[in-house]
């Protein structure tokens, strides 16, 4: 039941007395009569109509409960003419207009516009403007209202000439509109009116929007997914029922969901529900109705309340989706400790349903707190979604050594479905150069006096080779004296997987020892030698000595310690003499007076010779290969290279690297940092 304008007529100008208007038809029960009149003197009367003022002077809306009216009487001021418009509707929703009618006064010699009112395509819009004056008010209706059903022009009463226009139309636009009019009166008129009235009609709902599964999408139906639909009212009333149809693509007919029996059947079923205007609802089909591997068409229709009319809309154009299982992924590498690279490869194995292939992957690497999906830890790397069928990808950057990571992988298959996240954990144990001691000192240029900041990076690299320092690939230059043997051994290790096993081979009451080759050092410079030692039951409690032997003078600097069954680091600070000494080597020896026994053994690891001031052990093998990058930030967020501070070589002597920054803003704080690069 849709609102219909059954009749419309203008009210002729009269010269006084109440105006009796023949309708030219007989009203039906439920009809709505609208009267818009200029110079009215009260509510109209006639038939079984109950009248209500719209709030817009001169506009009345009447509900005819019994029908049978053939005329109405419009009271007018005695002796005054009147003019207006009468319309008879069927199917209007209520006596009250949609939204309040709006009425505004029009200032002299000016125009005015009503506020916007929302209305739908099923509504009727009525505007009225009336002025006392000499020129028509120039009624302007909202764009899209269409041709006015009726309009009036000037008429005269005892006070002079009135000009009035009334417009009404169906099929109003769905966007808010307004009404405007202009006045040429030089003085304000108490009865200069401008009004806009919206009357609501009923209409069947539009086909619902089929929200999800999206058309042409792929969906895993193994868990009985819900279908989501959007109700699309055309008359502002709620949905009270729906029909839902499904078929496999190519089938001749649909099956319809019966919510009462929770089954599909061959005839259309209207299932009761309640969905607000513009609301959505979901339909979950009986388990087993859908199966992966099929292509489905589905559709639905809405039924609206519509003032009790229960209007049923048409079915929506079918939407199609492919039921397909998502891929699965197993991440196979990296695992354990990775020692060879800071950019390890992530490997995975994907499994796909029949007919599907991998179309993309995403790799995310996190450290810190882990979960089974990314987001809980600190992200170190993200590949983004990469369109590729590859089953391996390198972590291009962002990882640092001595850190445990979890690498997450998610695959995308043809159709766009993604796997759950697979993951693997690994730890990077890659040798890197030592971090330098870094200082930033504001000062003035000693020559020009210009403000500057001196950036100094004191390298702390281990002078020893990698193998001499940690024995991961052998014993290096370490050799044993006559009473000892030395061998690479994996029983214990402080760094990596190996240490140097030093073992006494006899009971000869002379020193046993192990030593490495001489390393060239800078005359006059200070250093610290380090060695980590671990004993077992055979050696615990015995005295040992770490000796630094200075080449050239054979001077020694020693540190004696008692072996224990826990790793201990023995440090020997020393200074190379300015003349006569060119280098040094490390030697570890036992005490021949302490009843040496064959088989007494200990492990040696993390050896090194460092520039004085070094605070921690670092892997060897980097001296002569390193450089420093200095960066600055003025906001703590964005970092930029310091001029002349990129890849500044570090001398093999490990001399401090100094770069001057002249470009910081006077009076402001600038932040600096640096890193060492090898290779």
């Amino acid at each position: 039941m849709t609102a219909v304008l059954r009749h419309s007529q203008t009210i002729a100008t009269t010269t006084g007395g109440d105006l009796v208007v023949g309708l030219g038809l007989t009203t039906n029960p439920g009809d709505t009569i609208v009267v818009a009149v200029v110079e009215d003197a009260g509510s109209p009367s006639g038939g079984g109509v109950t009248w209500a003022s719209s709030g817009c002077p001169g506009v009345y809306v009447g509900a005819d409960a019994t029908g049978g009216a053939t005329q109405i009487t419009v009271p007018t001021y005695a002796g005054e003419p009147a003019a207006g418009l009468v319309m008879v509707f069927s199917g209007l929703s209520t006596l009250s207009p949609v939204g309040a009618a709006t009425q505004i006064a029009v200032p002299p010699n000016a125009s005015a516009t009503t506020s916007a009112l929302g209305f739908t395509g099923a509504d009727y819009v009525l505007g009225i403007a009336a002025f006392f004056g000499s020129v028509a008010p120039g009624l302007s209706v909202p764009t899209g209202i269409g041709i006015p059903l009726s309009s009036l022009d000037d008429f005269s009463d005892n006070d002079g000439t009135y000009y009035a226009q009334i417009a009404a139309a169906g099929a109003a636009p769905t966007t808010p509109g307004s009404l405007s009019a202009s006045s040429t009166n030089s003085t304000s008129q108490a009865n200069a009116y401008l009004g806009l009235l919206v009357l609501q009609g009923y209409s069947a709902p539009a086909p619902p929007s089929l929200v999800s599964p999206a058309n042409a999408s792929y969906e895993d139906v193994s868990t009985d997914p819900a279908f989501t639909l959007g109700y699309q009212s055309t008359d502002g009333t709620a949905q009270i029922a729906y029909a839902f149809g499904l078929k496999t693509s190519g089938a001749s007919s649909y099956s319809y969901f019966n919510a009462s029996t929770n089954a599909m059947q061959s005839s259309v079923v209207w299932n009761s529900d309640s969905v607000a205007v513009s609301g959505t609802w979901q339909v979950t089909l009986p388990s087993g109705t859908l199966a992966d591997g099929n292509v489905y068409n589905w559709t639905a229709a809405s039924q609206s309340a519509s003032g009790g009319a229960n209007l049923q809309g048409a079915f929506a154009s079918a939407s199609t989706f492919t039921a397909q299982a998502p891929p699965t992924v197993s991440v196979t590498a990296p695992t354990g400790t990775i020692s060879g690279t800071l950019t390890p490869a992530v490997d995975w194995t994907g499994a796909f349903p029949s007919g599907a292939t991998q179309t993309g992957y995403e790799v995310i690497v996190e450290s810190g707190a882990f979960s089974t999906t990314p987001g809980s830890g600190t992200q170190a790397y993200s590949s983004g979604v990469v369109a590729s069928s590859a089953s391996s990808a390198s972590i291009a950057s962002g990882l640092v050594t001595a850190t445990t990571y979890r690498a997450f992988v998610q695959l995308t298959e043809s159709g766009g479905q993604t796997s759950s996240w697979g993951y693997t954990a690994f730890t990077l144990g890659v040798d890197v150069p030592a971090q330098p001691l870094f200082t930033a000192d504001p000062t003035a240029d000693p020559t020009t006096g210009a403000p500057m900041v001196i950036l100094t990076a004191q390298p702390e690299d281990n002078f020893l080779t990698a193998v001499d320092a940690s024995f991961e690939t052998g014993v290096g230059t370490w050799t044993a004296g006559p009473n000892w043997t030395v061998a690479q051994d994996s029983t214990h290790a402080l760094d990596g997987s190996y240490a140097l096993l030093c073992k006494r081979a006899n009971t000869t009451a002379t020193n046993g020892y192990a030593q490495n080759a001489v390393y060239t050092l800078e005359p006059g410079a200070s250093y610290v030698a380090e060695a980590a030692v671990l004993g077992d039951a055979s050696s615990t409690g015995l005295p040992y000595t770490v000796v630094v032997q200075l080449a050239g003078t054979h001077r020694t600097v020693t540190a004696t310690f008692t072996m224990s069954e826990g790793w201990q680091v023995v440090s020997v600070p020393f200074t190379v003499a300015a003349t006569g000494e060119t280098g040094a080597n490390l030697l570890v020896t036992d005490d021949p007076q302490s009843a040496p026994a064959s088989g007494q053994q200990f492990w040696l690891d993390e050896c090194g010779i460092f520039p004085a001031g070094a605070t921690s052990w670092a892997a060897g093998g980097f001296v002569g290969t390193t450089s420093v990058n200095f960066t600055f930030s003025d906001d703590g967020v964005n970092w930029y290279p310091v001029r002349n501070g990129t890849n500044v070589p570090i001398a093999s002597t490990q001399a401090p690297v100094v770069v001057n920054d002249y470009e910081g803003a006077l009076g402001f704080i600038r932040q600096y940092r640096c890193q060492v690069v090898s290779g």
Binding site: P433, T448, L666
Partner: protein, 148 residues
Amino acid sequence: MTVTSFTAALEAQWPTSLRWWLKDPVNPAANMEVSMQPGLFKVSSTDPQQIVFPIGSPQAIIMRDTIKMPVLSLPMRFLTDSEFQAFEQLRATGHILLLQAPKEIGQWYIVLGDTKQDQINLATVRGWSTEGLLVRDITISAQSTVAP
């Protein structure tokens, strides 16, 4: 290639100075203090325009650039000839220079009139000897290359 992580960030408080400095980032040895007359120092943004009168047309064509980086008007005073010569040598390099002003004013990377020698306002150049002291006042415009 292996890389260490960055060291912890260190904060350095740059000196607060009432002086102006003209610095050559490429050659810090040429950095020099300049005596600026703050009351005459100006920073402005311009939209340079050119008016062309085509032959045979009554209509003029006005070509206008978009807004560029600030243009600085630098009123400097040199108390000694060596100061002025040092400035001239710095300007002659054509380098992008860093003009550092006291904190409240700011700093700019600038290009002095290397190709626009006439930006030196000769009308305002005046030298005189006062008890043997040669004073040079010049005003030179500079195009900022980076927003302050």
